[in-house]
Amino acid sequence: MERPTSLQAQAPSLTRKDFVSDQDVRWCPGCGDYAILAQVQKVMPELGIPKENIVFVSGIGCSSRFPYYMNTYGFHSIHGRAPGIATGIKASNPALSVWVITGDGDGLSIGGNHLIHALRRNVDLKIILFNNRIYGLTKGQYSPTSEFGKKTKSTPMGSIDNPIHPLCVALAAEATFVARSVDRHTEHLAATIERAARHQGSAFVEVFQNCNIFNDGAFDAFLEKPVRDDRTVVLAHGKPLIFGKERDKGIRLRGTELEVVQIGEGINEADLLVHNEHADSPNLAYMIARMEYPGYPVPLGVLRDVRKPTYEALLEGQIRTAVQRSGEGSLEALLNTGETWLID
């Protein structure tokens, strides 16, 4: 059979409903996963990709049930290994739009190695990491993103592990697209997912996702409506980092550190750090990624968006070059390579 040659091959106009599978969704009522599913299903028709060319791959955990609810091709694999499966799929058929749905345990604990290697290779995968800072499906143990000292079933005296920063991991792997959004910020989430989808290369999106059963309100300290504007900063390319209900606070680069400044008192917009998603070096993005409440506002939006050749394009390129150089492989010739002799 013929394979599609491009993602946009005669895309019929689809609607959100076309991407809803016939399976009952089995997350806990009130789980942040519902909101993420809804936004992904909303964005899909916008991309103009026929649904048979879309594959959702996941590992294990609450978030990893996601593929069952998408009426596309789907693969619910084993714990932490979705990037491996997805890499095989994408290398096998680069025309497919391949998504990885993972969580903080799946993607950063058991599967941390696969995540960084998929990102550093720049395989054209869209990786969405649902970060709820807890193990939900195993009923409430601390996760690699849980805060130091967190009390859970497995840490009754408090966690003594330092948490890992998902964005920092992605940037350290030099991922070409790195962003963060929030389950309940529906518009921001949809826009971020769409940008990730349109990026050519690996795209990593961390989504703050509330687990209302085992870690309810994990992000309330900076995401609750009354405080949100003062405790988060929404990044925009080419714009200075300004935040606050009154938009009166900003981020300035001082020496090798970022600092929060009050605009007005001798400081104006021109003194602030201007966000550049396309910077070749990930250094500034890394500094921004490290901003945490309470010392800093929590950054939301796209931290990095650069273009580099994708893994699968390079792989196919080598095959094309090899065929140009040596011709399409002949089995007959291959078997007869080297010194041969006749016995009669």
């Binding site: 069952y68 693969f75 499966i85 041969t340 016995i343």
Partner: protein, 620 residues
Amino acid sequence: MSSPTLIEREVKKEIQELETVTIRFAGDSGDGMQLTGTQFTNTTALVGNDLSTLPDFPAEIRAPAGTLPGVSGFQVSFSRRDIRTPGDEPDVLVAMNPAALKVNLPDLTPGGLLILNLDAFTDINLKKAGYTSNPTEDGALAAYRVFKIPVTSVNRSALKEIELPSKEIDRCKNFWALGLMYWLYDRPLAPTLKWIESKFSRIPEVAKANALALRAGYAYGDMSELFHTHYRVRKAMIEPGKYRNITGNEATALGFIAASKLAGRPLFYASYPITPASDILHELARHKNFGVKTFQAEDEIAAMTAAIGAAFAGDLGLTGTSGPGLALKSEGLGLAVMTELPVVVIDVQRGGPSTGLPTKTEQADLLQAVYGRNSECPLPVLAPATPGDCFHMAIEAFRIAVKYMTPVIYLSDGYLGNGAEPWRIPDVGHLPKIDVRFRTDPEGFWPYLRDERTLARPWAIPGTPGLEHRIGGLEKQNVKGNVSYDPDNHELMIRLRAEKVARIAEDIPEAEIFGEDHGKLLVVGWGGTHGAITSAVERMQQRGVPVSSVHLRYLNPFPRNLGAVLSGFEKIVVAELNLGQLALMLRARFLLDAISFSKMKGKPFKIVELTRKMEEVLES
């Protein structure tokens, strides 16, 4: 005139005919013994002898020079007859230093030829090898025909015109020794001269030095009064056809490329470097013009799962490893069983457990391959019998994987992988076809709707309109493929997966008996021990002792006639390089009192070990 040339011309050198010769080259791991052995092998193949090789090298890249652990050896047996093993014991030992002598002398046949580099027998080297007195002087070598040659110094004097540092000159001494062996066994220099020319084309001075060393070694044999006789082994009488030399790992790589061609689907090979399987990755990476995609994964698990992903998307998904890597791939294999996808896993077995003996051979992953996963997780297991058979079994692995939609394990071993033999190049037109049928029709499609005969589910690859579906590691509802926790469905699915693999027995060749189909003793083996077992049984048969053998290339399921075959014999000996894993399987399956014959030394069976065991069993 004391010119040696004039004196030597007086000496008439005899030529003596031999049937089979086994030579072992041994030296420091930096002495180029593997290269020397390989060159001797290639030239010997071109002369038309049948041959078999056994490289034996340390896991360390450069163990301390001159020490026992640093000794590297290469054994080659060649014959005018059809032979199947690299020989039990060498007739000839070339030892480049005292450590090489110490490690290898116990294997040399009494009366065998011993060629020593006398220059290397210095006090310091003798001490490193643990000798308290010099064996070249103390009579320790009296049982052998010893040729003490100052190889280092005669090589230096032969190469005195060459403008290279003395260290480089000394590195050529393996070619000098090779040249001498070419004279001694009447082989042409041309193939190695040609190889030197192309290998060192960018460093002409090195090419010149090696070529000169080779010729000098040859001339030394011809001229020196040390040697009165040289030997000839005539062309072998083997099946007519076009031949080439091949190692098991090469044949494996070529077999999987052939499978890709025969299936009309690209090969996707994901692997993490591991001894002794890495050569397969290297070989496949060289053949991208066949559309082969090679992926050096970040670990064994990623290699396994990437191969599964590729299979899901319609490529021939392949991964390769050795025992420790197979352990890491177990969970992925379970997923491939659950999702019923055609991936093949190569395990080039090595000594274990754990890191074990990376460069030595063993057959102790059989139970891991057949049973080593959580729950009931059946999959077909195949094992090539000879280096050349690796080619055919690779094709067979994908024929089965694709037809039955199942993962398959292909159990090679270090002996097959690194060992070489002349291989009759198959006619491409006669290779089996691999029939790939992707499901395209959405009408009546269900992901787990099975073919009535094979029980295979459809291969429905992403990109096919109307077949969007979800698979995964959770238990599947029969036919529809949705997640199901229904108890009856679970048991049904467990039984269906087992039945699917069991039915493959109807689609593989019956076990062939070597010898009579009934009698007192049957020797059963599998995989890489084929050469030694068959040769040993043949030797018994030639002595008039009625012994038969059966060699299994299919370990799960077993050939359908195996039970009947086993029932024709009073005694069954199962010979394998483990503590009785196939014996355990045969006892469990056929309720028979099989006698296990084990060897766990990181080395293949010797023919004599097997004949001795047969004699013992027959006498008891």
